[in-house]
């Protein structure tokens, strides 16, 4: 039994820290909460989740769940929610949770609210605040019904403290043979990087179309990011032009980041991109065009040719 059930994400090796932020929403909603992990060979990961104040870490561990195929995962998640009589099924917004949670919601005949950034009590019930129109507006949503599925925007909730007394780890029993079987995982292409995760980094350096090509992008954007120990991001235009891989994309349909320092190189500031960076503490914009919209939200704006400026910046930082 748990008021909230939180879906924790991992990359088959370790827990994705941003997925823990949903715990904070569960704490705000009140009541007991359980953490749910699905996968194959989850011993180590489950152990790392016991101190977040949950009533239990519920583990669905089976070779059939080795890959996050939505049909199987949604079935297990829905079953776990029913068994625990959970009213709130939570997750942190990511391509993983976006793939499986809406399907689980349908299986549970429950409504879903995506990308919650805050909750508020209005007229005796909880309302959820979420971005719409590429984050240019925010809507306050009321949800009816016994049960709801919610995803949170990681940058809007603090990570939970890991200082509670350890909770039990429970194995979730389900009938593996009756899992759906109409999807098959074939392969993945992921680069392991020494750089910090884009959604967790303290500093993000991002590049747009003016970076010309992959080599220049890596040299300037990568060079500056490495000098600052940061992660690399890109605009849609840069990804479309092949300068950066899709997982660097920041914006309305890519990742949302809120680092301490966001440096935008050759980025004009289209609404769709700003949607992904507006909560950054400090935004620095370097652009040749003095009228670029990015200067309207940048904390510090420097007008000039990034091909001249960025090498100077890298050098100045290196010299300390």
């Amino acid at each position: 039994m748990a008021e909230s059930l939180i879906l924790i994400e991992h990359d088959r090796q370790q827990v994705k820290r941003s997925s823990l932020h949903a715990i904070t929403l569960a704490q705000q909603l009140g009541g007991e909460y359980a953490l749910l992990v699905l996968g194959d060979g989850l011993g180590g990961m489950s152990a790392s989740l016991v101190s977040y104040g949950a009533c239990a870490v519920v583990v669905a561990d089976d070779p059939l769940l080795a890959e996050s195929l939505a049909d199987r995962y949604a079935t297990v998640i829905a079953e776990a929610a029913r068994q625990h009589n959970a009213k709130n099924i939570l997750g942190t917004s990511s391509t993983f949770s976006k793939d499986v949670l809406p399907r689980a919601a349908a299986l549970l005949d429950a409504p879903m609210v995506s990308d919650v950034v805050a909750i508020e009590e209005i007229d005796g019930s909880i309302s959820y605040r979420r971005p719409i129109n590429a984050g240019s507006m925010f809507a306050m949503i009321k949800v009816d019904g016994d049960r709801r599925v919610l995803t949170v925007r990681a940058t809007a909730f603090e990570p939970p403290a890991a200082n509670a007394a350890p909770c039990p780890i429970k194995r979730f029993e389900f009938d593996a043979a009756s899992l759906p079987n109409c999807m098959r995982f074939i392969s993945r292409e992921e680069r392991r990087s020494d750089r910090p995760d884009l959604t967790e980094a303290r500093v993000v350096v991002s590049g747009g179309r003016p970076l010309k090509d992959k080599e220049t992008f890596e040299r300037l954007v990568g060079g500056l990011a490495d000098m600052l120990g940061g992660a690399i991001g890109a605009t849609r235009a840069a990804v479309d032009a092949g300068m950066a891989p899709n997982d660097y994309q920041i914006g309305q349909t890519g990742k949302v980041v809120a680092p301490e320092l966001y440096i935008a190189l050759g980025i004009s500031g289209a609404i769709q991109h700003l949607a992904g960076i507006k909560d950054s503490r400090i935004i620095v914009a370097i652009n040749k065009d003095p009228d670029a919209p990015i200067f309207q939200i940048a904390t510090y704006g420097l007008v000039g040719d990034l091909h001249q400026i960025v090498p100077q910046l890298i050098e100045s930082i290196r010299r300390g």
């Binding site: 939505a70 049909d71 391509t95 976006k98 793939d99 949670l101 809406p102 399907r103 689980a104 919601a105 349908a106 299986l107 409504p111 879903m112 609210v113 995506s114 971005p131 719409i132 590429a134 240019s136 507006m137 925010f138 809507a139 949503i141 009321k142 949800v143 009816d144 109409c182 999807m183 098959r184 392969s187 993945r188 292409e189 992921e190 959604t199 600052l228 479309d240 891989p245 899709n246 997982d247 309305q252 349909t253 301490e260 320092l261 609404i271 769709q272 507006k278 503490r281 935004i283 200067f295 939200i297 940048a298 904390t299 510090y300 704006g301 420097l302 400026i309 100077q312 910046l313 930082i317």
Partner: protein
Amino acid sequence: MKILVPFKSVPDPNDATVAGAAVSTPKSVINPFDEIAIEEALRIRERGEATEIVGATIGAPAVDEQIRAALAMGVDRAIRIDDSRALDPYAVARILRAVVEIEAPHLVIMGKQAVDDDSNQVGQMLAGLLSWPQATFVSKIEFLDNKAHARCTRETDAGLEVVEVYLPAIITTDLRLNEPRYVSLPGLMKARRKQIEILTCDQLGVTVRPLTTVLSVARPPKRGAGTRVESVEELITKLKQEAKVL
């Protein structure tokens, strides 16, 4: 193979000079991700792998303009579910399930999210309701085994993933799947002779009960205006001393 392409009419994301400004009569367009879905269906047909493309949308008569644009791109016929209420994604999914049950397509392909609502739920919910396989955020589609499966490349937070789904299936499109063709005048002319079927939720046997309600919508507080710096030195000094972030 019959393909069903559900699409949504949204305010033109390129129109507002100020983001989200309440424009009195904003121009509407086909949701850009759904346009990509329509384009993909057309290309699948042009390769000889599909025989019929049916469009479906929910809305008041005003959205007929977007329906005609879809027909002008090359969709064969379209269904409009006449409903001007604000529907949440789950309601939309339930309505689309009824349409799928009538039309019996082999493939449903639609945008991953609507650029006004940004929920990214409908395709997945529809798949759950139908118990069909799903492939979301797809950037490449290939049919195998005489169209028994679709091999799809998906864009994820970590990079790319390839999955295979048995048909019938739901596919949601991501940005880089294709670049949609523009509506041509000959297409526009041909579209005038194509059929638009109007249905209601009653006829579909779907009762829409609003489970989520929008209480209010507001602009977020603006970020304070920043300052211009004149040189790299000045920037670094400010980042170190003022912002204390370096």
